[in-house]
């Protein structure tokens, strides 16, 4: 990294290899809780934006302007189920939508806490990095697609392919989930308080799916695992934090994991591939 001055520290003699970059930082330096380039916001400073008659692009710009001015709580009125609202927020923030969102709402966010007092369309919170999103009603298909981190909560039902290709984070569904929930998931956790439709966890590579009800059928390489006490405690806490009224006690949840038969798939013989895929 040209331009970076090497910091003298106790770790100069470290031998780094692989893709590591020879950068140094002081692990014992004074505690700093500010990300470089982020705006300092005050959660008690509140403003509202009316979405009536403006485009998604304009609304997103207004949200960014409000963050720059230090507003920590922003209420969006009349979102009108428009698409791509609230995308690309990379700051800590309290964002409240007084209505429903269309497709690709709250995508690519990193840090904010979002509450949606309505429904959401396809691919809500796609590629979310961190933060918390709470949907008070139902969610469409591909809910939390390619999720990488943070908590994604829907108090109602979620559509098909929920958590498709997720690489981290937690999806919590208060109601039922659609077919192919956890399709190709690679990491992270999905909690479904109700039932799950056909082919749950199909082609999952890793990660955990907790189900309070019953899955209609399991997909390829999805197998039942054993729930331990520590996971029960974690489940209880997650459901409590999400303020979901789950009728199934955490200890009665079923745990599903990857059978790991698809690992190193390319190295398998054709007969083995056939055997796994059925």
């Amino acid at each position: 990294m040209a331009g970076l001055t090497k910091k003298t520290s106790a770790f100069d003699d470290e031998n780094l290899s692989g893709r590591s970059q020879k950068l140094f930082f002081e692990v014992t330096e004074e505690e700093n809780f500010t990300y470089y380039g982020n705006h300092e916001v005050d959660f008690n400073k509140r403003t509202s934006i009316d979405c009536e008659g403006i485009t998604a692009h304009d609304l997103n710009q207004k949200i960014r302007d409000a963050i720059k001015k230090g507003y920590g709580s922003i209420v969006i009125k009349n979102p009108g189920a428009k698409h791509s609202l609230g995308v690309g927020i990379l700051n800590k923030l309290n964002l409240i939508f007084e209505g429903s969102l269309g497709y690709f709402g709250i995508g690519c966010i990193d840090g904010p806490t979002v509450r949606i007092n309505g429904r959401v369309g396809w691919s809500c919170a796609e590629n979310m990095m961190s933060g918390k999103v709470v949907v008070e009603n139902n969610a469409g298909s591909c809910f939390g697609a390619a999720l990488r981190g943070g908590d994604l909560i829907v108090k109602g039902d979620a559509g098909a392919r929920t958590g498709i290709d997720m690489k981290g984070g937690t999806i919590l569904i208060g109601g039922n989930a659609g077919a192919y929930t956890g399709f190709m998931m690679q990491r992270g956790r999905i909690i479904v308080c109700g039932n799950v439709n056909a082919n749950m966890g199909d082609s999952m590579y890793d990660g955990i799916i907790f189900v309070g009800g019953e899955p209609h059928s399991l997909g390829t390489d999805c197998v039942q695992g054993e729930l331990n006490e520590h996971e029960v405690r974690w489940l209880e806490q997650k459901i409590k934090n999400a303020e979901i009224d789950c009728k199934v006690p955490a200890s009665k949840f079923k745990k599903y994991v990857a059978g790991r038969m698809l690992w190193n798939y390319d190295n398998l013989e054709p007969a083995e591939k056939k055997g796994i895929l059925g």
Binding site: S17, H39, R64
Partner: protein
């Protein structure tokens, strides 16, 4: 000439046998960063079949135990206004080669653990240490994204706060 060749062959096989003995631990664990880690030497029939080790050297699905939370992480959670570790629940102490390290997804690189820090034996404690290390690195002025933002940030949406 023939005799010499045979002698050479014998010595090489003896050396390779010694090397095999050194690498395999009779107790079934491998010492990395002061911690005893299981798994690396275990070869299942499937691994033997495909000729390579499958999986990670730590439990990638381990759910954090909040009893092991450090004061630094408690403060971080409070400042961010979250109920729990949020995205940090997926952060684990991994390894780059045989060096304990945590992966920074923003920098797309491993942050290796300084030798001065002793690696705890429990994975829960190791993961908490990894989370703390990652946050400190991400908030350090030496993080690679700081330089990248300074160089490439442009337009009204990406004005920097110095």
């Amino acid at each position: 000439m023939v005799k010499k060749k045979i002698v050479k062959k014998k010595t090489t096989t003896a050396k390779s046998k010694k090397a095999v003995k050194k690498s395999s631990n009779p107790k079934g664990y491998q010492v990395v960063g002061g911690a005893k880690l299981k798994d690396k030497e275990i070869k299942t029939s499937r691994e033997k079949m495909i000729g390579q080790h499958i999986g990670y050297r730590y439990d990638v699905n381990l759910i954090p135990d909040y009893k092991h939370l450090t004061p630094f992480l408690k403060q971080y959670i409070e400042i961010m206004g979250w109920d729990d570790l949020n995205w940090l629940e997926d952060i684990h102490m991994g390894f780059e080669g045989d060096t304990p390290a945590v992966f920074d997804r923003n920098a797309n690189a491993w942050i290796t653990l300084p030798k001065k820090i002793k690696l705890p034996k429990n994975q829960q404690d190791r993961d908490m240490l990894a989370r703390e290390l990652l946050i400190k690195f991400q908030m350090s002025p030496n993080h690679p994204l700081v330089q990248l933002k300074r160089t490439y940030a442009k337009g009204d949406n990406f004005q920097l706060v110095e």
